[in-house]
């Protein structure tokens, strides 16, 4: 009897401790997700016309919408362009600033600065870099090599790549911090033992350092994948999705549909597609990495 009381009290205690976080999680994540799912089966309410149930019409429209497929394809290309590159750069930078050398703190700070700056401000700076004619890149190109001016943001072939460059620049420093922390927690004895055995630097990295970084890589990859679907702020400044949707990503298209065109019904449908995609990716990553990640 006494034990059951104690158990019950513990139980209440536990739930009370969970409550604040749960309230916020439900209010801002789960309930909106569920309402979004429900709304995706309704038409957009306008003025006096209330929303009515239209079944899967929104989904049919989505599958027929060439812009949807284009932004999805853009987003895959964006993910492929940003994730490996920013992670690779992050590892290289972390290894570099982990060495003992003069000016190490300065270098660390320099690599980390892009992360601290707000994305909107960064986009405005890059906008100047990319400006045709008198922007930084064009001044360098014409001043040093006498090359003609370019229009990176204004042509469909380069607009998305130009945005990928900004994103990698912005993200790599952030990921570097995680790798740096992992590197510093790594026991030196392993490396020393390998050195005694006569292993070269490359073998040490590939056989010792990299495998030991795997838990960090998993964490960083999950974040990078989420970011590749989440970071759209700079698109508003740099290209506004143009030219002709060449640089629009899925989330940008959702914003445009829901808050520029005020097609909230269709916007909800697109959001469901994004949520499904992200959940699949997150689950897939954990399964994929599970065998390769060695936790201590």
């Amino acid at each position: 009897m006494m034990r059951r009381m104690a158990l019950k009290r513990e139980w209440i205690h536990g739930w009370l401790l969970l409550l604040p976080a749960m309230v916020f999680l439900f209010a801002f994540t789960h309930i909106p997700a569920i309402t979004t799912f429900i709304n995706s089966f309704y038409s957009t309410p306008r003025g006096k016309r209330a929303a009515k149930f239209i079944g899967t019409a929104n989904y049919e429209r989505m599958f027929d919408d060439p812009v949807f497929w284009q932004v999805l394809w853009n987003n895959i290309w964006f993910a492929v362009g940003t994730i490996p590159l920013s992670i690779g750069l992050a590892i290289v930078m972390a290894l570099w600033v982990n060495e003992k050398m003069i000016g190490r703190s300065f270098l660390r700070m320099a690599f980390f600065t892009p992360t601290v700056l707000p994305l909107i401000a960064v986009a405005n700076i890059w906008m100047f870099f990319y400006t045709p004619g008198f922007g930084l890149f064009d001044q360098l190109r014409s001043g040093l090599f006498g090359l003609p001016s370019t229009n990176y943001l204004g042509s469909p072939d380069t607009a998305l790549n130009a945005i990928i460059v900004v994103t990698v620049w912005k993200e790599a420093g952030f990921f570097m911090i995680f790798y740096l922390a992992a590197l510093q927690a790594m026991p030196v004895s392993l490396k020393e033992a390998a050195q005694i055995e006569g292993a070269n630097r490359w073998t040490i990295f590939w056989r010792i350092t990299f495998p030991m970084l795997m838990p960090t890589t998993l964490f960083v990859t999950v974040n990078a994948v989420i970011n590749s679907f989440r970071l759209v702020d700079h698109i508003f400044i740099l290209t506004d999705g143009g030219p002709d949707n060449a640089s629009a990503l899925l989330l940008f298209y959702i914003y445009e549909t829901a808050f520029r065109f005020w097609e909230t019904g269709y916007g909800a449908t697109l959001t469901v597609a994004l949520l499904a995609l992200l959940s699949l990716l997150a689950i897939g990553q954990f399964f994929f990495f599970d065998k390769k990640v060695h936790y201590k």
């Binding site: 906008m127 008198f134 229009n151 204004g154 030219p243 060449a246 520029r260 065109f261």
Partner: protein, 427 residues
């Protein structure tokens, strides 16, 4: 019986409260966007506090709400949340959207006297085109503009052109443009002849070309577009030719935001942009520049642009009445003049231009008159139901043609078909 007594009681109480409230002061909330640099936001704050000081019975709270896009988003969100402002400046082209969302009330119910009707007739008709539909007035012009052509007089001189004469026709613009386009020894362009920005909302400046070629992009009921009209196609072909055939304009999408900078840096000798940039140009151009109307093809022409005042639903009778009074005050000559001087927006009432102070200002800075004079040839800015979406169809078509992804006719036909699909339910 009981119900009606109850209703009466409620009504009386409500009446008591409202009379009490008006004896106190009317609270007004007013959203405004700022789309150009300079002193626009400060000037609005200044004017509203001036009004509040002179009218102790009105508390007016002017809220800066970001860009036009942000402002309409905030108004719609606030209205859906049951807490709309009583008054807002929103794009004149959003009229149909606001009607469709059932968010605005027409001004007509509050402008019933003869004097009021005369006041309403005192605005430039070109500005009223985007403000009235179905015989009702939904918007009162405020921060309105037309796009104009700026030219660098020094560059004209260097190219052997008369620095005081702007191109008058499309052909002249090409001809001048060829002379103004400069290349270095390795054949790279260092100065372009013409710059018509095409990022973000290319439809606006393009509409200038379309009107000059005799086309109208949409009907006044806002439910039919004419994107595939041969005259529109021809206008787009001309815009594309400026880069590809005549080589007087930079290829690809040209950024709207950096256009004043490109002008100051002599990257382009002739630029098309809003007259809302006029004060910025005057303060920052390192050379003498001229302002001209758009060149003509078969006629002169330009779209109007900018924002109107709208009355939002959900306000009390007193609040709306007070909002109308405020709108009358801020569009009156004295206030309108201050606004025009601070920004370059066109004062929307001819009487403002008749005041001695305004005449003096214009004498010292004649460029300010160009946008006003162009109003005679100006047409309504493209505006339809589901405006943002329909406009973005045209924007995508323009971008496709400009970047060479598609030819003008195909791109515009596709935009027209998509627009028809959206607008058919409003016919």
């Amino acid at each position: 019986m009981l119900k009606s007594t109850l209703m009466k009681a409620v009504a009386t109480t409500a009446l008591c409260f409202s009379t009490w409230a008006s004896a106190q002061a009317v609270d007004l909330q007013f959203y405004f966007p700022v789309a150009v640099g300079g002193k626009a936001a400060d000037t609005i704050q200044e004017l509203t506090s001036e009004y509040a000081a002179a009218h102790p019975d009105v508390n007016i709270d002017a809220v800066y709400t970001g860009s036009y896009q942000d402002t309409v988003a905030k108004v719609i969100t606030a209205s859906r949340g049951g807490n709309p402002p009583q008054l807002s400046v929103i794009l004149s082209t959003d009229t149909f959207t606001l009607i469709d969302e059932d968010l605005v009330v027409p001004f007509d119910d509050y402008l019933t006297s003869e004097e009021d009707k005369k006041w309403l007739d005192g605005f430039y008709p070109a500005f009223m085109e985007n403000s009235q539909t179905g015989g009702k007035t939904y918007g009162i012009p405020f921060q309105r503009s037309t796009p104009v052509m700026y030219w660098n007089k020094e560059a004209f001189k260097e190219a052997g052109l008369d620095p005081e004469v702007a191109p008058q026709t499309w052909d002249e613009m090409v001809e001048f443009g060829k002379k103004l386009t400069k290349k270095d020894d390795s054949g790279n362009v260092t100065q372009w002849g013409v710059r018509i920005p095409s990022s973000g909302f290319p439809y606006w400046l393009f509409q200038g070309l379309a009107i000059e070629n005799g086309a109208i992009l949409a009907n006044s009921d806002g439910n039919k577009t004419n994107f595939d009209d041969p005259k529109v196609v021809e206008a787009l072909e001309f815009m594309v030719d400026l880069s590809t055939k005549y080589e007087v304009m930079a290829p690809g999408i040209i950024e709207w935001g950096s256009t004043p900078k490109a002008f100051f840096e002599r990257e382009s000798a002739i630029v098309w942009t809003s007259t809302g940039n006029l004060t910025n140009m005057r303060d920052n151009a390192p050379f003498d520049f001229g302002v001209a109307m758009f060149p003509e093809k078969i006629q002169r022409g330009a779209p109007t642009g900018g924002g109107n005042f709208y009355l939002l639903k959900g306000a009390s009778e007193e609040q709306t009445q007070a909002a109308v009074e405020f709108v009358k005050w801020i569009t009156a000559p004295q206030q309108s003049m201050k606004w025009t001087k601070a920004t370059g927006y066109v004062a929307p009432r001819p009487e403002t231009w008749e005041t001695a102070e305004m005449k003096e200002y214009a004498a010292g800075f004649p460029q300010v008159l160009v946008a006003r004079d162009q109003l005679e040839f100006a047409k309504a800015e493209l505006s339809t139901y589901q405006n943002q979406r329909v406009t973005s169809l045209l924007n995508d078509a323009l971008a496709a043609a400009i970047t060479g992804k598609s030819d003008a006719a195909t791109a515009l036909e596709k935009a027209q078909a998509d627009a028809d699909a959206i607008l058919s339910e409003y016919r």
